[in-house]
């Protein structure tokens, strides 16, 4: 009885398929041009979409969110539709185009990573009237009794709907059964997580400790709030970078809002690699500093010679630009840093050599120290730079001095 009333609320696949079929048939009758008609393949795609969409809607209804005014869109992915149908994504796209022109699909929106959203013609998905509570009890009872008393031959359904039936175990997620039946409570309910006060029997959990699992989930909950602030911080970095770069490199250019958003998107994907690389805030800050240094470097390079140029911003930060994009300045920057370090090392070693010369002549501030003391002093000073190349070069120069 319960199941019967529940199934009434849900969409019947058979009826939906017939509705889709009649829709396509009427369309084919109307269209005189052969090219505009929908063939069997288009029909199959339409049915697939209807089936999956109905499944989604039924799930939505069973979760307790009935649609009152508007249908939600059918959220899916082109590749998943293609794999369901056993064809390529291109075919799915072509079929969707055809169904759109036929009016089967009203609207389509692309959500990038999260897939596509389709709005199917409401003629096919006319919402079924929910059983009203004002129905006379007697008629209801008579319906139910007729259901049990009628001896009707059990026909197989026209459409194979076995897989679309509700899962018998679906009540496990909904948590409608009593505590004694061994249903585990939701993990992030703090009061249940304590070992001594758990609502479910501990001996039932032989495989995995629920407490450890729930810890993970609560941590994830906490992380979600910190994640938001982190993403805000990261997006701020992109904005700051653009605010720093624009007056330096593109001072004469004026950008409208859509142009600026496009450039920001390019910076996000090319300069920051869509933040796919995990790093702490301090690491990102130091990276931001190197970016500023790179921008300054490009600015200096431009100022030095008026014949030099960089491409416009939308090309300069374009992720596909392999020729003259901002990404290329990274190598340049590294090279420059290496050169700077080399020069610094050379100056430091020259200083050390000079100190040894002065020491040998009995001059300089270190003349009263022993050789070992001077060596230790210099070694300490050079160690503070943390550059092994510098230490090696120092040892070489020291050997030369000692040998001469």
């Amino acid at each position: 009885m319960k199941n019967k009333s529940a199934s009434r609320l849900q969409y019947d696949f058979g009826k939906l398929f017939t509705a889709a079929k009649t829709f396509i048939d009427t369309h084919n009758k109307k269209s005189t041009n052969l090219k505009d008609r929908l063939n069997a393949n288009h029909r199959a795609t339409a049915e697939l979409i209807v089936r999956l969409y109905a499944k989604q809607l039924n799930k939505l209804i069973s979760s307790g969110n009935p649609m009152h005014h508007e249908f939600p869109g059918f959220k899916t992915f082109n590749p998943s539709l293609a794999s369901c149908k056993g064809c390529t994504t291109r075919t799915i796209m072509n079929h969707k185009e055809r169904l759109k022109s036929a009016g089967f699909i009203i609207k389509e929106t692309h959500h990038g990573k999260t897939g596509i959203e389709l709005w199917i013609n409401p003629l096919i998905f006319t919402p079924k009237k929910l059983p009203t509570p004002t129905v006379c009890k007697e008629t209801k009872i008579s319906q139910i009794t007729s259901f049990f008393t009628k001896r009707v031959k059990n026909f197989h359904p026209l459409v194979h709907v076995q897989q679309e039936q509700n899962n018998n175990n679906s009540s496990v997620d909904i948590l409608i059964t009593s505590e004694k039946q061994g249903v585990r409570p939701k993990a992030h309910k703090q009061k249940y997580n304590c070992v001594t006060r758990t609502a479910h029997e501990q001996h039932m959990n032989t495989r995995e400790s629920r407490t450890s699992d729930s810890d993970k989930q609560t941590r994830r909950l906490k992380n979600s709030s910190t994640g938001e602030s982190e993403s805000a911080f990261l997006l701020n970095l992109v904005q700051d970078f653009w605010l720093y770069t624009q007056p330096k490199l593109f001072e004469s250019a004026i950008f409208s809002k859509p142009e600026e958003t496009e450039i920001l998107n390019f910076i996000w994907s090319s300069v920051y690699r869509k933040f796919k690389i995990k790093g702490s805030t301090n690491e990102w800050k130091s990276y931001q500093e190197t970016l500023y240094a790179r921008v300054d470097m490009v600015k200096r390079w431009l100022v030095r010679n008026p014949c030099r140029w960089i491409p416009p911003a939308h090309l300069y930060f374009h992720p596909e630009n392999k020729r003259n994009s901002f990404i290329k300045t990274y190598r340049w920057f590294i090279k420059q840093q290496a050169l700077k370090r080399q020069i610094r090392n050379r100056i430091l070693i020259q200083k050390a050599e000079q100190e040894w010369k002065d020491y040998n002549q009995g001059e300089g501030k270190n003349r009263h120290k022993t050789r070992l003391q001077l060596f230790r002093l210099q070694q300490q000073h050079l160690d503070s730079y943390g550059d092994p190349m510098l230490i090696r070069a120092y040892e070489k120069s020291l050997q030369k001095i000692v040998n001469t």
Partner: protein, 83 residues
């Protein structure tokens, strides 16, 4: 050759020519037929049209959002962008 569709274009450009005429041009916001519309691309194309194709033939040109009460996105006077 594909032509921009005034109904689907995201931006439009009104050019006031030197000879007193004025004409509206609509943006072509797609790289190819199936691509996602990109308003910035459409604006850049309109700008290119103004500064290269119609160079020296107009006095004022304004790019608007192609919708009712659409905002001004860019304004040009004598070949110079004002905002």
């Amino acid at each position: 050759m594909t032509h921009p569709d005034p109904n689907t274009a995201l931006s439009k450009c009104i050019i006031y020519f030197n000879d007193g005429n004025s004409r509206t041009f609509y943006s072509l916001d797609k790289k190819h037929k199936k691509s996602k519309p990109n308003q910035a691309l459409g604006i850049r194309r309109l700008e290119k049209m103004l500064l290269q194709h119609f160079k020296g033939t107009w006095r004022t040109a304004i790019i608007y959002e192609n919708c009712t009460n659409g905002k001004e996105l860019a304004k040009y006077k004598n070949g110079v962008r004002l905002f």
